[in-house]
Amino acid sequence: MFGKHSFENLINELAAEPQVVHWEEVPSKEAVYASFPASLDARLHASLQTRGISSLYTHQRDAYDFIQGGKNIVAVTPTASGKTLCYNLPVVNDIVNDASARALYLFPTKALAQDQKNELNEWIEQLNIPINSYTYDGDTQPAIRQKIRKAGHIVITNPDMLHSAILPHHTKWVSLFENLKYIVIDELHTYRGVFGSHVANVIRRLKRLAAYYGSDPQFITTSATIANPKELAETLTGKEITLVDNNGAPRGKKHFAIYNPPVVHSQMNIRRSASKDSTYLAERFLKEGIQTIVFAKSRVRVEVILSHLQELVKKEFGQKSIQAYRGGYLPGERRNIEKGLRNGSVKGVVSTNALELGMDIGQLQVCVMTGYPGSIASTWQQAGRAGRRNEESLVVMVAGAAPIDQYMTQHPEYFFSASPEHARIHPDNLVILVDHLKCAAYELPFTEEESFGEEEISEILDFLNEEGVLHKRAGKWYWMDQAFPAHNVSLRSASQENVVIVDQTVPANVQIIGEMDRFSAMTLLHEEAIYLHQGTQFQVEELDWEEKKAYVKEVDVEYFTDANLNVRLYVLDIDQYREMGKHAAGFGDVAVTIMPSLFKKLKLSTYETIGSGPIHLPQEEIHTQASWLELDDEMLYTDGHDTFEKALLGISLLFEHLVPVFTLSDRSDVHVAYQVKADHSERPTIFLYDHYPGGIGLAKQLYAHIEELIAESIELLHACACSRGCPSCVGYDEFEDMKGLVLKLLQSIRP
């Protein structure tokens, strides 16, 4: 160990390197403390003192006070700022004074729930007060389930379990529902898109049952930094929410470097791979004994980087000094890493993005990200892994070949000054809403006066009555079907008729590893597709469309696949429309027919096409929401039909790159399609549509911001280092200056 001096030297050396395109210093911050509240139980006070907590941070105190005052809150706190105390303090304080009080904790994953239970139980044990806190999930032993239902003060679970095991069996949980005082939702920012929209409806059902049993629980939620925590919390819970964001936790000085690997092929604008340079950067710090975490996007990458680094340091520290962290680690394995980091036997951790989610393994001094994590919010979460309190730390983001990575290298201010993304949900998506109305009717019949969220529901209930799912008698809609509706609704996948993914890598151990909605399956699970599951590459060997099964086998290849779709779009209803000079923007309901035609194999590092093949699948249709950009049809004639179509294709590609960043959504949530002559307007039109039946609100959001999207697209294009277009921006065309063409078109649209 060389200590601090060496760290400073290394930082200075790095800062001087030409590959470092941006260097940002985030200043240190002193802790801001607040005293313990007077109403805090003396036993809690004492136990915190023993744990070395002699006062609260301001945000913890505020959270406590608001909760005491009957408010619902969202606490926005960065990594390692003591957010669990924001909810554990008021909840436990209540339970020690009233043994009948109950609280329900929701975590997005089982692993997080386990983690929390351990932390909480350690504290409870130390308190020596009989408080029962349990996790309730698929792994819970049947023998103790009944005890949890009857006597669990704090029930820690996940939304899926709440949806399919607790709510539909609420009569077994009477003591929980009758006394439910708090609902804690941690990692609120993970509830977005389709998943979040489902969870918002699960919470409507939860509130409905709580009301039936006579309780009106308060919501305590926590979120990583996003642009709209209050709005998200309010939509998700249907309650008025108070924002707590005066983070009082201290922070050491943080250096943030953006590193762009050197160009190795100038004409194609190909750079050295990000994982190679990440390994090399991490090595420099690890060799000095400086604890470093490397994030990689896939499990394969983690393995590659891990073995490189282990090889490099094995003489100095031994192989065990570098550990991998993958999703799904058991608490014990994680604790070992944590312990190793604390006692110094572990120097480095190589992790998939799984670690980003709230898992606590302790802080390291340097964080290296292999590629842009995909959103500002998750970048800050990963960056939060570096920097112990009051210690200087370094974060290096190594840009990858993806267009958005390259955009970041050119426009670091986008990252450092722009507010983080908005998290959107659309709980009133008709398909999702109807699914949960069915579940809710199963749980309790609907009365005519009842509401469920914002939407007027009696019309929907009548519809379900006509379809024979519900039965209206004496002013109430009753569930009248043999099915158990919650089992037909999965919160985490889009549409109901899912394709099951069967891993047959090991013939003796064939197992189901996941499922995917039908529409996504067409493009992601066709035969020969490379399917990424938790970072592992699988090749689809057979897609049985009739039986909805995809048989996959693990592979290790240097390419990914991208399917071409023939998309037809018909506008059914125009909800909003506005002129933009000679052009126009619209938003409304559309019918999309999708027919995959062929797929391409693209090299991972460069996005080069290295092969292709046909896809044989039947046509599918979805009804969803879209926003669109109608262009002046005069433009068709200026450059000629073919050239103009190429420009539309280029813009579509560019939008596809940008939209996920713009909307904090997955790449598959919003799709882009263009028509040289759209059916509804007879004008050249670019559509951005929600890839989920009924729409999930992303297209609607894009309609409102279409001018900004155009402006950003122009920026991205300027930023790209290529000369005539490349796979990172608008695509490469042998005969056409794609970049110039698209730029010209975009500038002419720009208001």
Binding site: H169, G468, H471, Y478, D481, F484, H623
Partner: protein, 414 residues
């Protein structure tokens, strides 16, 4: 909205929720009394009675049968006999034993029909059926729910009628029917009597113990056919019950549920026969050696070791290693080393299943009771080859200890 709902219909109405014919509008002009009467008149059976509770009603059907018509033409009250036989037997802790002061009239043979096969808050019980033996008659009472809005009346009458001091006899009722009654009772608990804490004999568990090796499945219909000699004619299969009930709800035509009532009645009647049949097998220690072995194991699980041993003793022909081993263990438990030792030795020498466990027991007995350390030591050495890895340590310890004991006793001799 309507248009939108229809457009997205295929995403909302799934194959397992089959869309049915649009509902016929029910004539709302009828008063509720009239509606109840009209429905009843439509149906031929005269045993139906309308029972009111406030403004809700249910149908109750009561049928009585003579004993011979149920008990294979026998005049005697076999249920009464079997309850007496239980009382006279020395069997203890058995899950089918009625306790001392139970009379045969306390037994309530009970089954439900529900709107779904899976338990849960929204699965409604629409038919409760119970059979009782009273004097020289078998009485079957059925409570039928005319619509979900009448559930308070449903449970009010059911609970008032059956009383509080009963013993339920069901088929899978411990895991399905009774929990489901509890679930639905939760919704109406403020308006109806409390659920009494009934004793409960679940014949599914019993049937599994006795018949699982000889029957293709332990479904009630299979047991009726192969064990009880009951053959149903024109039976409505249970899985159709929900659909038929929904059809009744929509049409108000009680003839839709007629078949379900018959089916349910046969179920509860079969339960009487099954209870008698299984009880008799247990009390008489089984009809063949396999059965006797199964009953012995059952007694063991109930910690009634004396009855278990008495069953094992009934098996005279060369038994399986498992039965011999279990028998030996029971002798050991009762402190009867003399009987246990040769049995352990026999199982150990057979080198079949349980040979290792029997060897260990044999060695233990030799060491502690017979004090024959050398033989015990030899057994342990021999067991080394078949020792499962988890028990290496223990066997090793035992072997070492025996060695020391041998050396010590040799030293004493010298």
């Amino acid at each position: 909205m309507k248009e939108k709902l229809n457009r997205l219909k295929k995403h909302m109405i799934r194959a397992d929720e089959p869309a049915r014919e649009p509902e016929q509008p029910v004539d709302v002009s009828l008063s509720i009394e009239k509606e109840a009467q009209t429905e009843q008149e439509k149906w031929s059976s005269s045993a139906m009675e309308i029972c009111w509770f406030e403004d809700m009603y249910i149908y109750k059907r009561k049928q009585t049968y003579s004993l011979p018509s149920i008990f294979n033409k026998k005049e005697t009250n076999e249920l009464k006999e079997i309850v007496n036989e239980w009382a006279a037997s020395t069997i203890t802790n058995h899950p089918l034993t009625p306790d001392g002061d139970t009379s045969e009239t306390d037994l309530l043979f009970f089954d439900t029909e529900t709107t779904g096969l899976q338990g849960g808050a929204g699965t409604t019980i629409f038919l409760l059926g119970a059979a009782e033996v009273k004097g020289d008659q078998v009485v079957v009472t059925q409570w039928l729910l005319p619509g979900p809005e009448h559930e308070v009346a449903f449970y009010y009458h059911f609970l008032t009628d059956i009383g509080t001091d009963r013993k339920l006899v069901t088929f899978n009722g411990k895991s399905f029917d009774w929990p489901q009654v509890k679930t639905r009772h939760t919704f109406v608990k403020d308006n109806v009597p409390k659920l009494p804490a009934f004793g409960h004999f679940d014949l599914l568990h019993a049937a599994r113990r006795l018949f699982k090796d000889r029957l293709p499945s332990c479904k009630l219909s299979v047991i009726e056919n192969d064990i009880l000699g009951v053959h149903r004619e024109d039976d409505v299969p249970g899985y159709l019950a929900p659909m038929l009930y929904f059809d009744y709800l929509k049409s108000g035509d009680l003839s839709y549920v007629e078949g379900i009532l018959e089916h349910n009645e046969q179920d509860v009647l079969s339960l009487i026969l099954l209870y008698i049949d299984i009880s008799r097998r247990v009390i008489t220690r089984g009809r063949d050696e396999t059965e006797t072995g199964a009953i012995a194991k059952w007694h063991e699980a109930n910690r009634d070791f004396r009855s278990a041993l008495s069953c094992y003793e009934k098996i005279t022909s060369p038994a399986t290693s498992e039965l011999m081993f279990r028998k030996a263990c029971l002798y050991k438990k009762c402190g009867n080393t003399e009987q246990a030792l040769p049995l352990f030795a026999e199982v150990y020498r057979r080198s079949e299943s349980y040979a290792y466990q029997a060897g260990i027991e044999y060695a233990k007995q030799l060491e502690h009771k017979v004090k024959d350390y050398i033989s015990a030591y030899n057994v342990c050495l021999h067991l080394k080859d078949s020792c499962p890895s988890a028990e290496w340590g223990e066997l090793d310890k035992r072997t070492k200890r025996l060695r020391e004991k041998i050396e010590k006793s040799e030293m004493n001799i010298s």
